[in-house]
């Protein structure tokens, strides 16, 4: 008998199964029954039990039995009380995290999906349905026909792919470059290997398409619609309303159209020629656009309301928020919004030799960081109270910034801006933090660490801590405003004015381009109905048949970046799109959920809306 032996490795097969399961859970299709899923995950916890303590060994199993009764329609409301009591007792009395966390999951589900539990008991039905045959389409706010355009790309038809996207989203190019691609989140392909590179494929289509003509407009209806704000939401609404035969007029406060796509997103992420071409294409359907017109100053809202048959307010969320620290009035402190807006109109400040600190961890903060690098800054710091993994910016933005030399000062809270005698920024005092307990959203709250304050030697401080809506004009006109955001229904309607609709960032608060586009589409459809019409929007493109030989696991083909040193010196596109070869292989990975599975049964395609 040896005194010690070398431990065996973790079983490789089992380890592989764990990793597969992780992916499969992320690949859960939208619309599943939360009670059923809770039961499934509870069983995982029960299988983890060592079997020593009663609450875990017996309790988790009995919880599973009770949940099964709920699912089988055999439970009463009393069962719910027993489930709650049992789960709480297991949380309170199990010896270790296995039992405690297994039961906590049930408590969370009970609170979060109360209606689902009750429906199972009272009507013996499940509220959940497979309403969403195609996960990527279900998760795209604008309902873009993803499998359709991927199939077209696979057949070498980028022009048709662009035309198909435009049926739901008139800004395929902007989205090809900057969309956060929620479509990839639940892509069924990750059950096999990894989600499809949907944005990469869209970019391939956009980059390789010629001039794709827009569909003809419906006969003129004689109705006039005013669009306040020429950002993605306003442009989208104007595009669809014009196709529907209505006369649309955009009023844009700034000098150029594009909204945050121009005044928020730097050119290295969305090249200006791409944006300009897209806006030109949208306007070409016959939209009238006036820039440098501020509604509320140059034209009153009342006048718009009187002169137009309907109004769509999509003014975005373009004012900045302050950090709220001492010394923020120093010369050299600016907001990311201010910096990026100036650049949008071609005013590039010179940061040569300057040391810059950006405060914030979102995408705008990354834009400010990477823009500062390109403006010649000697050093760029990103000061953030939490950890890198807690940042709300897309991971590729964060790595991109780091590759370009941005220093991540994470777990530091800004305390004050130090000034020199002339009132200019002399440094940024920052306090080390520790990652703390989770907040309600499941992100760890930073807490002050018992370490001394430090001072970053910087000349410029840029705050990227959120944006606000400048909604005063509309609040004064009597519209409801909540925390500065205009209050509008899910259909875009504004309750105080029958003919007024609103959507995009000014309603939701700062969000993504695709959500703004979706809001514009929703508003267009509902304005059309409000005006007494029902113009369907459709496109006549045949979708290629699915291929049958693509189920073998293989690597996802990613978009590559230009060399970091080279790209950090200019404002040109940082990405290299997929090659023809890459796009062909990647598009063939699509599992065609529009056809297989539920798609063939329920119809995986909305041909018109």
């Amino acid at each position: 008998m040896s005194r010690l032996t070398i431990k065996a490795d973790i079983d490789k097969v089992l380890d592989g199964i764990y990793k597969d399961t992780e992916r499969k859970i992320i690949g859960n299709q939208p619309g599943l029954c939360p009670v059923d899923l809770t039961l499934t995950y509870l069983r995982i916890s029960h299988a983890q039990s060592c079997g020593k303590c009663v609450p875990c060994r017996v309790g988790l199993g009995q919880l599973a039995n009770l949940l099964e009764q709920v699912l089988d329609g055999k439970a009463t409301m009393r069962t719910l009380d027993i489930i709650k009591e049992t789960a709480q007792a297991i949380v309170d009395s199990a010896d270790c995290a296995i039992g405690q966390e297994g039961a906590r999951l049930v408590l969370k589900a009970l609170a979060g999906f109360h209606d689902d539990f009750v429906e199972h008991i009272e009507s013996r039905h499940c509220i959940s349905r497979h309403q969403f045959p195609v996960p990527c389409v279900a998760l795209c706010p604008a309902n873009v026909d993803v499998p359709g355009y991927i199939a077209l790309i696979s057949e070498g038809r980028p022009d048709d792919a662009v035309a198909l996207i435009r049926k739901d989203n008139p800004m395929p190019a902007a989205c090809a470059y900057v969309c956060e691609h929620p479509c990839e989140l639940r892509c069924r392909r990750q059950l096999i290997d990894a989600p499809l590179n949907i944005r990469g494929l869209k970019r391939f289509a956009v980059d390789n398409a010629g001039d794709v003509p827009n569909p003809p407009c419906a006969p003129a209806t004689g109705k006039k619609v005013a669009i306040v704000g020429g950002g993605p939401s306003g442009l989208t609404a104007a595009y669809f309303l014009t196709l529907m035969g209505h006369k649309t007029v955009i009023y844009e406060k700034r000098h150029q159209l594009g909204g945050m796509l121009r005044y928020g997103i730097p050119a290295y992420r969305l090249p200006r020629e791409v944006l300009d071409k897209e806006i030109e294409s949208i306007l070409s359907v016959g939209i009238e656009a006036h820039t440098d017109v501020n509604i509320g100053e140059d034209i009153t809202f009342e006048k718009l309301n009187a002169e137009f048959d309907a109004v769509y307010i999509a003014i975005g969320a373009q004012s900045d928020r302050k950090v709220g620290i001492e010394g923020e009035d120093a010369e050299g402190v600016m907001s990311a919004v201010e910096l990026l807006r100036g650049i949008g109109d071609g005013n590039h400040p010179d940061f040569t030799g300057k040391k810059v600190a950006i405060i914030g961890g979102g995408n705008v903060a990354m834009d400010a960081c990477r823009t500062s690098v390109r403006l010649g800054a000697e050093r760029v710091y990103c000061v953030y109270r939490r950890r890198i993994e807690d940042m709300t910016a897309l991971p590729e933005e964060v790595t991109g910034a780091m590759e370009e030399g941005v220093e991540m000062k994470t777990l530091y809270a800004p305390v004050r801006v130090e000034k020199d005698e002339e009132g200019r920024v002399a440094g940024l005092a920052i306090q080390p933090q520790l990652s703390g307990e989770y907040d309600r959203g499941g992100r760890p709250r930073p807490t002050k660490a018992s370490l001394p304050e430090e001072v970053l030697d910087v000349d410029i401080v840029i705050a990227a801590v959120g944006q606000a809506v400048d909604s005063e004009t509309f609040a004064n006109a009597g519209m409801s405003v909540k925390w500065g955001n205009i209050v509008a229904g899910k259909d875009g309607s504004v309750k105080e004015y029958r003919k007024v609709f609103s959507g995009g960032d000014c309603v939701s608060g700062p969000a993504t381009a695709i959500k703004a586009i979706a809001a514009g589409k929703v508003a267009a459809g509902n304005i059309d109905e409000f005006l007494g019409f029902h113009h369907p929007i459709s496109v006549d493109i045949d979708i290629p048949a699915p291929k049958l030989k693509n189920r073998t696991p293989r690597g996802r083909i990613n978009i590559t970046g230009r060399d970091s040193e080279e790209r950090a010196g200019d404002f040109k596109d940082i990405e290299c799109g997929l090659t023809c070869e890459g796009a062909s292989i990647e598009s063939d990975r699509c599992l065609r959920c529009d056809y297989f599975g539920y798609g063939v049964f329920r119809g995986g395609r909305e041909k018109k809306w």
Binding site: G31, C33, H125, C126, L548, F601
Partner: protein, 579 residues
């Protein structure tokens, strides 16, 4: 053309052909279960899977189009194993108590299971615990449902009523009623098309044969049967007899053998309906501004439920004439009872119908002209009739012909075509033309609306009245489409025949089931042939109809006729809706 090889046989088939169809062209039979051509091609059951060289997985043949150079094997060890496993899995959740199932012997699952020679069970039984509701005309038996989704597709795509849907997710996914607690509280039209397209016995009519046997056993009760036109086209199918050898008169013999006291032909009541409805149409047509247009026929109870459930604002467009079944019930318990000196309370009227919705219609308010409870006491479908014959060991092939009973027994050729799509309109036009012009039209003048098709339209010129724009629609999806066309102003009609079942009553939800076959047309042709060979082809020339008016009703739409033969459609409501 696409060149492929199936089981080592090279073949060229048109592009878009499925592997299943290509195989069938070669005489290679691939088994299917959920597949229903053009209606349900969703690859749910995975019984029809085949092996395609170069593909990792098996593919369903029912919805996979052939590709150039495909090499297909329809029966390999992998295919065989998958088919057997999938069949066993379906059977593990299926109540295999076949002896208690009406579809035994006519069940796709049963025949597949028999063909695959299963010995022993591999899986534990997983039967659902749902309580069945046997009170409704339409019954769903959860433990028999194989989730093939055919009923969902039929109800949504063909009938556009959306009663059935998939409920729940994951392992508990099942077919259930969409948007209502159960069938009884849903807007189901009881068209019964889900039953006739179910591959197994999961969907059924309520069996009412027991009530008939009880009535027959009671010597005090006078049991009277009426036989709908479409029943004579299909009742013999189970016995494998030519329809010429098993006519309505053979059916009279069979019913008399069972003990029915009187057997009548619903064709007579169809003639009566024609008299009333044609008169009503002429009245409306000459008082156009007082009525809503177009006028709809009202003899199909499934269509009435559809109209009341989906387009309640159009109920006044419906003719107020009762259906032939209900007119007959009223006449038997009044005129016939009076003439024969029988207490109407002792009369038990049985309707033999190709229809499920008739089981609901006879219970509606206003269907009690003789104040005996219900003018029609029990409605059975053709399928139930066949089951009665089988139980009574009556083989139609061995029967003599017996004429229908007198007084109200005869129907015209116009009455008999009520059972086929277009028949009501043709019959009504024949008589309306006569009523307006005083002359009979060419009897075959309206045959343009008699043929095939879900929507048939014609403009009929009636001298003295002008052009009458008529339409004949069958299948509720087609009905919805024409109503939408009318409401949007795209189409204009004066008179429309609406039937819930595609092809009319011959394709009715109470008709015998032949999986994968649509027989409405074939059976309809039998009726049109009876009409063609009839020596009486106009309802208004039926002497017994003339007697009925002369001796009892006075004239169409007289006070007495209104009382017995017309109904206020506002006296009842669909579940959850106002009257």
């Amino acid at each position: 053309m696409v060149n492929i090889t199936i089981d080592n046989i090279p073949v060229s088939v048109p592009e878009g052909t499925t592997i299943l169809d290509a195989s069938r062209q070669l005489g290679i039979e691939i088994p299917t279960l959920c597949y229903l051509k053009e209606i349900n091609e969703i690859g749910a059951c995975r019984i029809c899977v085949v092996e395609v060289e170069g593909h990792d997985t098996l593919v369903p043949s029912c919805n996979t189009p052939v590709e150039e150079g495909m090499v297909i094997h329809t029966s390999t060890p992998r295919v065989r194993t998958s088919r057997r496993v999938n069949l066993r899995l379906i059977l593990s959740q299926h109540d295999t108590n076949c002896t208690h199932c009406t579809r035994s012997g006519n069940c796709r699952l049963q025949s597949l299971a028999n063909d695959y020679n299963f010995l022993g069970e591999h899986y534990p039984r997983e039967l659902a615990v749902d309580k069945e509701d046997f009170k409704n005309p339409l019954i769903k038996i959860e433990n028999r449902c194989v989730k093939c989704m055919r009923c969902v597709q039929i109800c949504q795509e063909m009938q556009t009523v959306n009663i059935w849907d998939l409920i729940g997710t994951g392992s508990r996914t099942r077919v259930g009623v969409s948007g209502a607690a159960d069938i009884a509280s849903s807007l189901c039209t009881y068209c019964g098309q889900c039953i006739t397209h179910c591959p197994v016995g999961a969907l059924q009519e309520r069996d009412d044969t027991g009530k008939i046997f009880s009535a027959l056993a009671d010597p005090e009760t006078v049991v009277v049967a009426q036989i709908a036109p479409a029943v004579r086209t299909s009742w013999q199918e189970y016995f494998g007899i030519d329809p010429d050898q098993a006519t309505a008169k053979h059916m009279v013999t069979a019913l008399k053998m069972m003990g029915f006291d009187y057997v009548f032909d619903t064709d007579f009541a169809a003639d009566l309906t024609v008299m009333e409805e044609a008169t009503e149409f002429i009245h409306r047509f000459t008082h156009k501004d007082q009525y809503k247009w177009p006028m709809f026929t009202s003899c199909c109870p499934g269509w009435l439920r559809f109209c009341k459930g989906q387009y309640p604002d159009m109920v006044d467009n419906l003719s107020t004439s009762k259906s032939p079944q209900q007119m007959f019930g009223a006449i038997i318990k009044t005129y016939f009872a009076e003439k024969m000196n029988i207490d109407p309370k002792k009369i038990f009227v049985v309707s033999i119908m190709p229809c499920l919705a008739k089981k609901e219609e006879h219970l509606r308010p206003g269907m009690d002209a003789a104040e005996t409870g219900h003018d029609v006491d029990v409605v059975i479908t053709t399928r139930e009739l066949v089951r009665m014959l089988r139980g009574e060991r009556i083989n139609p092939a061995l029967l003599e012909r017996t004429p229908f009973d007198v007084l109200i027994g005869r129907g015209s050729g116009a009455g008999v075509v009520f059972g086929a799509s277009g028949g009501v309109m043709v019959a009504a036009l024949r008589t309306a033309y006569h009523m307006i012009t005083g002359k009979n039209p060419d009897v075959d003048a309206f045959q343009v609306i008699a043929g095939e098709g879900g929507r048939k339209v014609a403009t009929i010129n009636v001298p003295g009245a002008g052009d009458v724009r008529v339409a004949v629609v069958s299948g509720l999806g087609n009905v919805r489409q024409i109503i939408e066309d009318i409401r949007s102003g795209r189409e204009h009609f004066d008179f429309i025949e609406c039937m819930a079942c595609p092809g009319g009553c011959t394709g009715g939800g109470g008709q015998p089931i032949h999986d994968g076959e649509e027989l409405a047309k074939v059976r309809g042709d039998i009726l049109w042939n009876i009409d063609k060979n009839s020596n009486m082809r106009f309802s208004h020339e039926n002497p017994q109809i003339m007697d009925l008016y002369n001796n009892y009703l006075d004239e169409p739409m007289s006070e007495k006729a209104e009382e017995l033969l017309h109904v206020d459609h506002h006296t009842w409501a669909m579940p959850g809706m106002k009257k």
